[in-house]
């Protein structure tokens, strides 16, 4: 169905100022059913299985059930994402389980400084040099 919402876990993001999955879905698929106060995927055949909703859900209420037209039932891939790493649980159809952890970011969220310590270089608006060049290139700019 691609992404689906577990009724028991979804609270409609009642404590948040917006529904997290609805905010993040790049294809605008997640919607809040205001009567039931539960989110749902309104067009499962337009879902890219990008996991953005799964990763952002504050109550871990969203999972992915692989596309039924080519995936056998039983496989589950579920992430647990923190600010600097992501932990993946992969459960096979035959019940085998693998776990992987990868770093995702080396700086604290919200800490980015655009110039990142590089010199801003040229003032020439019409020239080819970009912001922070040539410092961020580490060498001089190629030209003919």
């Amino acid at each position: 169905m691609p992404s689906f919402v577990i009724n028991e876990k979804c609270d409609g993001c009642k404590a948040q100022d917006r529904t997290a999955c609805q905010y993040i879905c790049p294809n605008d698929l997640m919607v809040l059913d205001r009567e039931k106060n539960k989110a749902y995927n309104r067009a499962v055949d337009m879902c890219w299985e990008c996991y953005s909703c799964v990763k952002i859900c504050p109550t871990q209420a969203i999972e992915i059930r692989g596309y039924a037209d080519f995936m056998p039932l039983g496989g589950v891939v579920q992430p647990l994402r923190s600010t600097d790493s992501i932990m993946w649980s992969v459960r096979f159809r035959n019940r085998a389980v693998k776990r992987f952890k990868f770093p995702i970011r080396t700086s604290p969220e919200g800490s980015i400084e655009p110039d990142a310590g590089f010199e801003t270089g040229t003032d020439d608006l019409k020239g080819p040099g970009l912001r922070t060049e040539p410092d961020s290139l580490g060498t001089s700019l190629f030209t003919r």
């Binding site: 691609p2 299985e49 990868f102 655009p114």
Partner: protein, 625 residues
């Protein structure tokens, strides 16, 4: 939903950036710096939320364009040569070189901003292939969009971004682009953005051809389904000349979930074989001579690798397998120490899974569902359906000015990355003939284009005026699908089946069927001919008429209506350009059965332009300089 209830919101700015993906973030980053120095305003408009929008929304496991200029690993000219050969001679040297000379700077910024890049014992980036470096890229887009937002913030009230606004049309005054219109997908608001310069970075196009999976798997396109042709539509409607609209991209990926193959081929040195275990790149090597000089150069162009694989399938030698088991076995066998070999095995396993988990989670799910352990079982690969994307091994997009210091005279007209329409710039998948930009190059091209666009704003300080009548007409046009639905919805007992209108989803399926069957889609082995194209074009004309009867019951459907109108224009320019180029040059992307070989006379760009004044299409052949 009542179209009369829509408020009109007018936003005035200097540089308007359309899109929120890698190119748009690069543009916002660079523009902010120059706009601050020259007192200009910058506004970015994204159809989604920037932290997860565009093709990098899910993340990436590699950055495919990094030259390593500072360490002398490669030269700019090496890269130009590589790109040009991959595209069978069809590329703009000036544009490719321009991206290549700046791209390392962007990658160095990404690292400082917090993107984890793999390093070897000496602290150097780990290369996947000659141009590719490995990353832990799950949060790639979060990081890059944060930098773009921080840069806009430096402009104070002169920097802003709008999310969940869907852009539909360019705003033209005489022959100049002075803005864009669209609507909010969250509330009843019509938006008019007025600007001195407009930068189109709205991505490539997916779902123009019928996908191989048509149930739930419809959405599992290789490139994202939300990249729906807005870039090409925007520049076409503005009257800009387009290039390489015939150069679609057909990637070969792990079958069905379309997981990446780059790490397997390049990092793990895996082979792809037919069912008998034969490596078709070896057994069919002689075929490459028919496509010389490109076919005989190394590396073999992507479309020719596809072509050899398609020939295997045609002859009944499938399934085609990525021999992941053999590749891992060979890598481990090189380590004599048993303990060390076990450690290496563990490391390779983790790397193999991360490759999918970082950028195509669905492929990991596919392996789990099929009980596939890559070290034990080979996996099927297959050619996907065609996509329009100039940031990879396709080339479609607007024909833009090159940089003053690199471009031949005929390729420079005042401002780098400006289309042939005054004030309208393009970058990323929106600009053509500069393939292989990938994520880092798209970000970089956004930077290049934004700087030039700020210069345009500074040179054209007069305020932009758009008449009230023009705005009213545009608003009526954008909201028309709501009115059509409202007027007719009660006629039939099923809102989906009504003779007075067509809903966007069926409209999309109709387009996909035409493109697949007449323009060389996956189901016909990517083969087409002049006669088939002629017929396909005839059917597209009916679609153009029926596009006026697209109907939307809500804001989401209104967006789908416009996405599919955008797709239709991308489709028409594609058919017209394949028909114009009477040869076969990229046989693994499409094959003209009536012109089955490459011709010297077509060592040229095939361009096209839709004339807004007459509504006529003009085909243009341009020399490769």
């Amino acid at each position: 939903m009542n179209a009369d209830s829509f408020e009109t919101v007018v936003v005035e700015t200097d540089l308007l950036i359309l899109g929120g993906g890698m190119a748009a973030c690069g543009a916002a980053y660079e523009a902010s710096h120059w706009a601050k120095k020259h007192n200009q305003r910058v506004t970015l408009v994204d159809k989604a939320a920037m932290e997860r929008s565009g093709a990098v929304a899910m993340g990436l496991s590699a950055i495919n364009l990094y030259l390593g200029l500072k360490d002398g690993r490669n030269s700019v000219d090496d890269y130009v040569q590589y790109v040009k050969n991959d595209l069978m001679g069809i590329a703009r040297d000036d544009l490719v070189a321009n991206i290549a000379r700046h791209v390392d700077s962007s990658v160095h910024l990404f690292e400082k901003w917090g993107l984890p890049i793999w390093k070897d014992e000496d602290g150097r980036y780990v290369n996947e292939g000659r141009w590719q470096i490995m990353i832990h890229g799950e949060a790639y887009k979060n990081i890059v969009s944060e930098a773009a937002k921080m840069a806009l913030k430096e402009l104070g009230e002169h920097g802003s971004y709008y999310e969940r606004i869907f852009i539909t049309e360019p705003v033209m005054v005489d022959d100049r682009c002075v803005g864009a219109v669209g609507f909010s997908v969250r509330e009843n608001k019509f938006y008019l953005f007025k600007a001195k310069a407009v930068l189109d970075t709205m991505g490539g196009a997916v779902h123009i051809f019928r996908p191989r999976s048509v149930g739930e798997g419809l959405g599992r396109s290789w490139y994202p389904p939300f990249n729906s042709g807005a870039s090409a539509y925007f520049t076409l409607k503005a009257g800009a000349e387009m290039t390489c609209q015939e150069v679609r991209f057909v990637p070969v990926r792990f079958k069905d979930s379309y997981g990446p193959v780059g790490a397997w081929f390049l990092l793990f040195k895996s082979k792809a074989t037919n069912a008998k275990g034969e490596d078709y790149m070896e057994t069919r090597a002689a075929e490459l001579e028919n496509w010389a000089p490109y076919g005989t150069a190394r590396p073999t162009p992507a479309n020719l690798r596809n072509y050899l694989m398609l020939k295997e399938i045609e002859e009944g030698n499938g399934p085609i397998y990525m021999r992941t088991d053999e590749a891992i076995r060979e890598m481990v066998a090189q380590i004599p120490d048993e303990k060390e070999a076990r450690r290496k095995m563990k490391e390779l396993e983790s790397e193999a899974w991360e490759d999918f988990l970082d950028m195509t989670v669905s492929q990991a799910l596919n392996w789990a569902s099929h009980n596939i352990m890559p070290e034990e079982t080979p996996s099927e690969i297959s050619a996907c359906e065609p996509y329009f994307i100039s940031s990879h091994s396709g080339a479609s997009g607007a024909w833009i000015s090159g940089p003053e210091d690199l471009a031949p005279d005929a390729h420079f007209w005042g401002y780098g990355n400006m289309t042939t329409v005054k004030g309208l710039f393009a970058a990323g998948d929106a600009s053509g003939a500069s393939s292989h930009k990938f994520s880092s190059g798209s970000f970089t091209e956004g930077r290049i284009a934004a700087k030039a666009a700020v210069a345009f704003c500074v040179d054209h300080p007069d305020p932009v005026h758009v008449s009230g009548e023009q705005v009213a007409a545009l608003k009526e046009q954008v909201l028309k699908p709501l009115r059509i639905f409202d007027a007719h919805k009660d006629y039939s007992n099923d809102q989906e089946v009504n003779p007075h209108y067509i809903k966007p989803k069926m409209f999309m399926f109709r387009l996909q069927k035409i493109m697949d069957e007449y323009a060389g889609g996956a189901s016909v082995g990517f083969r087409t001919s002049g006669a088939l194209l002629e017929k396909g074009l005839e059917y597209l004309q009916y679609m153009k008429e029926d596009a006026e009867k697209l109907a939307a019951g809500d804001l989401n459907e209104l967006m789908r209506c416009w996405e599919n109108t955008h797709r239709l224009w991308q489709a028409e320019s594609h058919i017209r350009t394949i028909r114009f180029r009477e040869e076969t040059r990229w046989p693994g992307y499409y094959f003209r059965t009536d012109h089955p070989a490459m011709k010297a006379e077509w060592e040229a760009f095939a361009n096209c332009r839709w004339d807004p004044a007459s509504g006529e299409w003009k085909m243009i052949k341009r020399e490769i300089l």
